[in-house]
Symmetry: C2
Subunit: 546 residues, 2 copies
């Protein structure tokens, strides 16, 4: 990945755009009203805190490769890719930036960096693709006098064990790099989150990423069989065995630790044969409830497709309006609505991958369930359109932000018995917050991951941004949504992670004792508190025994 070709101010490759059609723009204006286009500053206009001097010990470790300290290098590691990050980048006002960037060659160099940073009071932010949308890579110094961004791009080993069907992958490999190396051997990792093109193996592990095809291939935390994490007090490596009952699962401590306990340097993950065939198609169901009920039936019968998504009524309308495939799908929807003599209707995308014969067998079973639930088949075109556009969301966000819109996503999950309550609560909270002052908004939701006991809900919301008050507007909506999630007993994050944004809700998530458990780990493995300060859990007083 040549970083010169990636946008410093937005998502993905410089120059790659997802241009909105005039029709899409006018429909958007119709739905949420006009917005004031928001100009972007130039890279050299970006203001950020001046780089602080770093100890010579770090320079000595860097050797000939050196530490990167140039303006553009610092800008590129100063923020993740959440809405707030993008507002800051585009406006050219970065509240934080790393003081330098190190490019360690291997685990041994990381050990050296962590040792030196611990001794000399430098915070360390492990950096992979920089795609966190919750502040996970925000360079916060905490009590330390500088921040070193530890860019893991040189950790790119690929070691395949064909017999065990596992691959040991360096943390710095981006999704497409890992996938290409595996495809060359006829294999796939099967992990395709929306951030796939930019995010890294280490990031997937550190945040418990869930790919779009997780129903079929498994979430990333299910794919990982073992890992290596360098902590400030030593290396934590778990055995590469298919299962163990040897105490609490330390692998599951490192997964999701978001760089706060150490640097994940490599993971061993299950791989599969690359699929011989893929089949993606669309369906319409009468409403969101009917769709959820059908998904529940599929999951509980063990007959889930590999990809299964259900857009609510609003998302169904919005995505048809904004996507290039709106025409076709809209015509199908019109037919559907005429047949049903009613308004509404929800789009379902289902996809199967694998060996041709088994794919057809599995598809027959699950489509039969969908049809029994009243789903109308739309054929492969909407499925292909979804596949084609599966990584486009963040490119669309750049376009919408250019045009002056706030656009953000958040996700949660719950058991089926409380999913409707969670859905309505979050949707209504977002609508209420975004419409304060009489503005209009779009609040879309889709079911993105389906389990036997429940499902995840993925919300996307769009509203005209309030110029100069974008972050305040965002915070109000985000806070309202998080409060609704907590009230319904849902999880504060299904796959985006905690970072900075969800830290205030960790007590609701895991309770006081859970926080203490995490603090105990943090204090023991990172006694100087240098690892990714200000993320996951706040520092605070200990509990004492009752």
């Amino acid at each position: 990945m040549n970083e010169a070709v990636t946008k410093w101010w937005g998502w993905g490759e410089e120059g790659r755009r997802l241009e909105l059609s005039d029709r899409a723009v006018s429909m958007l204006r119709e739905m949420v009203g006009p917005a004031e286009p928001s100009p972007r500053v130039e890279l050299d206009e970006v203001a950020m805190p001046e780089a602080r001097d770093l100890p010579d010990s770090l320079r000595a470790i860097a050797g000939e490769v050196g530490l990167l300290v140039a303006h553009d290098q610092r800008v590129r590691r100063a923020a993740g890719r959440g809405y707030v990050d993008l507002v800051n980048l585009r406006s050219g006002r970065l509240p934080q930036a790393p003081d330098a960037i190190a490019l360690p060659a291997d685990a041994a160099e990381i050990v050296a960096y962590l040792g030196a940073c611990g001794r000399d009071g430098v915070a360390v932010v492990p950096f992979g693709g920089g795609t966190s949308v919750v502040g996970g890579v925000t360079p916060i110094a905490g009590p330390h006098h500088a921040v070193l961004s530890l860019d893991l791009r040189r950790l790119r080993t690929v070691d395949v064990d064909r017999e065990s069907m596992t691959a040991t992958l360096g943390a710095g490999l981006r999704g497409p790099e890992a996938e290409a190396a595996l495809r060359a051997q006829g294999l796939t990792l099967g992990h395709f989150p929306q951030s796939y093109e930019q995010a890294t193996i280490g990031g997937y592990a550190a945040t418990r990423s869930a790919g779009q095809a997780s129903s079929g291939y498994g979430r990333f935390d299910e794919l990982v069989t073992s890992l290596q994490m360098i902590t400030p007090v030593g290396e934590l490596s778990t055995l590469a065995t298919p299962h163990t009952a040897a105490g609490p699962a330390l692998r599951d401590l490192a997964l999701g630790s978001e760089g706060t306990l150490g640097v994940i340097t490599q993971v061993t993950a299950r791989v599969r044969p690359a699929p011989q065939a893929r089949h993606y198609e669309g369906f319409f169901v009468a409403d969101f409830q009917a769709g959820v009920a059908a998904f529940r039936e599929l999951a509980q019968a063990g007959t889930l497709p590999d990809v299964l998504r259900l857009s609510d009524e609003e998302e169904t309308r919005t995505s048809m309006a904004l996507s290039g495939t709106g025409g076709t799908t809209r015509a199908a929807l019109d037919v559907y609505l005429r047949i049903r003599r009613r308004a509404g209707g929800c789009l379902v995308i289902a996809g199967w991958e694998g060996e041709r014969e088994s794919l057809e067998r599995r598809r027959a079973v699950s489509t039969s369930t969908l049809r029994s639930a009243g789903a109308i088949a739309l054929g492969q075109r909407p499925g292909r359109a979804w596949l084609h556009a599966r990584y486009e969301g963040p490119y669309l966000r750049d376009e919408l932000m250019d045009r002056g819109y706030l656009v953000e996503t958040l996700e949660t999950s719950h058991e089926y018995s409380r999913l409707t309550e969670l859905y309505a609560g979050v949707r209504d909270a977002l609508r209420k917050s975004l419409s304060s002052g009489g503005a209009s908004s779009i609040v879309n939701c889709h079911v993105s991951h389906v389990y036997p006991d429940g499902a995840s809900l993925y919300f996307t919301f769009i509203a005209p941004a309030r110029p100069g008050r974008e972050i305040e507007q965002w915070r109000s909506a985000k806070t309202a949504a998080c409060a609704a999630i907590v009230a319904a007993g849902g999880t504060i994050t299904h796959h985006h992670g905690v970072g900075v944004d969800h830290m205030p809700y960790m007590r609701d998530e895991v309770g006081e004792t859970g926080i203490e458990a995490l603090r105990a780990l943090k204090e023991r493995l990172d006694p100087a508190g240098i690892m990714n300060p200000g993320k996951l859990i706040s520092s605070g007083a200990r509990l004492s025994a009752a």
Copy 2:
């Protein structure tokens, strides 16, 4: 469960025996030589340390129910059900015993007990079915002046969420009790370890139990969606959501914690519809390698039966010799060997459960793979025999011990690429240790759990016990096997847990940093160190930052 009807000295119901046929006894003698029958003492002859006085604070919490202090009550909580436990019980010499037994009614009473024990220096051993085979319930006082056994049998709530297909189950429910409550609603937990009849929900969770049908229903740690654990500093409860990315998985810290961090009081677990049909059958494969290769193919293709087991040559011979079904299976084996013109051959048991039509579909796919691998179908009789005998192993052990034989089991797992090395290493180490002094032994192995990346190996070994030196003889074999496991990089335990026996190998399993992580949790959640002392990890000095 009326405990008066369970054996204080062995396994399961008093009076229930698995009598060996004369033919089995003579074959056993032929294989490993004669042994000197070992008499058992009577219950009132059992010697154990005198009960120490417990603080009044505990008596106050117990209220009218009281603390149990009678001889037989103490004997029944003085040991688990490993070989060493049984040797101690049968010889009437118990090195440890709890000073009293509490029967808490609910979580609130457990909070009170832990508080009082922490203040007054009393160790707490959470006690479910008492079936640990690794010393997990050994009442070790550690630095404390007494031991309270916390028997959880009164925690028996069952709360089913049919929509989410989950059940919240009290920790004290034994396997059959939980299953009966679920069956009354047409559901099953699907968790059937060999200890099923005696072990409890809390024990399954605390030890990461794996049932015989884990390929189909999932291991217990995969079934659990959330749990409640009372620690000395407070309650740790995880949210009942299908998945979360909110940091390290605290559920996976409680699972496998073996009572060292707190008392698991209830778990919420996924349940399924009770199977409409079951089909179990037997196959023969040429040798162990061929069987493993076929299992690997099934697992990697995602077409595993719900139960799948492969006995090695020696186990195939032994089980036919010792079981009542030897005749039929032996005749089939003879036919097989004649066809193949060779010695050896390994028994495979495969089982499918579920809705009739899908069962047949799945069975067709997997039997086709087995046949392609050269497996010869033996029909349903060996499958039914296995089902009938699935919980009989520990009863057989009682018979063998009566007759003066050492009999013990241990388990491990590894990736396929190192499974043969692990298998040969452990088998040879056990043979060598048991045959020291020229004795004969039986060392059986079967693959008990199958994964896409590897499998578990379950060893059973039998030898004439050395009267008066049984524990020494056992320790030598166990130590040799554990050293072989560590040398091959396998896990020290696939599903029995760590307890006392595997504690010395935890450093090999999780490394110095892993031990420190576990210690940090222990010290924070159990600052007085009262929870199940002497298990999982030893106390020791901390690491300091590099």
